[in-house]
């Protein structure tokens, strides 16, 4: 008998790539999926059924902007009926009393609202959406007043990192149980805009100090999840808890991926939920098995005692920076390619270039 991998804990559905905002660090792929290619309601319902049967416990409704799908409340209701914990990851600009009531009524467990900055001017410029910040503030109040659990998410970079203390204060003011201060992760759009986004070491250190002090002060009241940019880390993140170990992502068109950035990897034929079952893909597909566990590791990972802690870091980052997804993540100071990180950090000392905003058909040619 073949040993099957442990079932996934968590499923992220990119219901659509449509979004009113244009954040230059968006985690969606550079090649955005058009509306016509999206899975139908019935197809997403079947995904939820399959996920629950396989052992998924949590489902994240994400995008793009998941609220751009009118069937979102139906999908949330279906997830709740299967006992799945449901989390909505939203920009909240489409959230109003009516849309929120439908979601709350459907049994939504948690809402995560992304804020682009602590002030309207900066936020609306980063998202390239006038009036967005004010809408988000109103939406966060609605969520809180509806009695739903709320997380405020802040993606930080050189244009807003100085305002991390104000971001934390916003979380407190809302009575949020949790906030996220997450530095940009540099794949896809983020990598394309890296010179415009990566903070300096000194800026990051000030941010880290502010987060640690607030964590101490707010212990037991508000959790602050904090993500640093790999460029200044000595050890890589255990990305997604290891390739295809806990997490599975489905793109708007139904491609099944071990992480949201995996579509950036060439030489992979990503399985489609339109052609195979989720269980077959998770348990038997070659792309999921390729970097799962430790069998694929080169040195220095192979004989490192952290190999089952960080799983050799991020495959997408290894590919983006070295051209080979099977190398040790350059974020690790033991990696042969670690010098790449320091070179990139140099960019942060120069004045930032203009953003390439995230949109379908953005002019990528001139930047590449």
């Amino acid at each position: 008998m073949v040993n099957l991998p442990d079932p996934p804990m968590s499923l992220l559905l990119e219901l659509t790539h449509r979004c009113p905002l244009q954040c230059p660090y968006c985690s969606n792929p550079l090649k955005l999926e058009r509306a016509g290619a999206e899975l139908s309601t019935d197809e997403w319902v079947s995904v939820l059924d399959q996920a629950a049967a396989l052992g998924v416990l949590q489902v994240h409704f994400s995008g793009g902007e998941p609220m751009a799908r009118p069937d979102l409340p139906d999908l949330v209701r279906h997830a709740a009926s299967l006992g799945l914990y449901s989390n909505l990851i939203t920009s909240a600009v489409l959230l109003n009393p009516r849309t929120l009531a439908a979601l709350a009524d459907a049994g939504l467990d948690h809402v995560q609202i992304s804020f682009q900055d602590a002030d309207a001017e900066g936020a609306d410029r980063i998202g390239n959406y006038a009036g967005g910040h004010a809408k988000k503030l109103a939406a966060a109040e609605l969520v809180r007043d509806a009695g739903l659990a709320l997380t405020l998410n802040f993606v930080v970079h050189r244009h807003n990192i100085a305002r991390v203390p104000q971001m934390i204060a916003m979380g407190e003011a809302f009575g949020a149980g949790r906030i996220e201060i997450a530095n940009v992760q540099y794949y896809g759009w983020g990598l394309l805009n890296r010179a415009a986004l990566l903070p300096t070491r000194a800026e990051l250190d000030a941010c880290t100090a502010a987060v640690f002090a607030a964590r101490e002060r707010l212990r037991g009241t508000m959790v602050i999840d904090y993500v640093v940019p790999d460029y200044y880390a000595a050890e890589p993140k255990g990305c997604m808890g290891g390739w295809a170990r806990r997490f599975v992502n489905i793109s708007p068109a139904g491609r099944v991926l071990p992480c949201h950035a995996a579509e950036t990897l060439p030489a992979f034929a990503w399985p489609s939920i339109r052609e195979e079952t989720l269980a077959d893909i998770w348990n038997h597909s070659e792309p999921f098995a390729r970097y799962r566990g430790t069998h694929w590791m080169p040195e220095p990972c192979k004989s490192c005692d952290r190999r089952e802690i960080d799983w050799g870091g991020c495959r997408c980052q290894a590919f983006a920076l070295t051209g080979d997804a099977g190398r040790t993540d350059p974020a690790c100071e033991l990696a042969p390619d670690h010098a790449i990180m320091a070179e990139a950090a140099q960019e942060a000392e120069a004045p930032p270039p203009a953003f390439v905003y995230r949109r379908v058909g953005a002019n990528l040619g001139v930047m590449a």
């Binding site: 079932p7 416990l57 949590q58 914990y85 948690h110 659990a149 949790r178």
Partner: protein, 93 residues
Amino acid sequence: MTETAQADRVPAFRRGTKFRFDTVRAAWVVLGPERAFLPDEQAVEVLKLVDGARSLGAIAEDLCARFNAPTDLVMADVAALLQDLADKGVMTW
């Protein structure tokens, strides 16, 4: 904090946290935003008694009776577990 004050504290799951039995893994799981974990056997016995009404003292008493263990030891263990979960944003107490 005095021992009596501690014993009167009432733990509760935080809004947005779920504790349920997963039939696929045949195990109890704690679910929250960006958190999903399988508590160990001891923690499961404690969490099953958390209902937002029972105090630490009442929970400890129940466990002591069933597992035949000394009260102050159980109290200290349970308090430490609850504090850890509170720091993780899973409980209030």
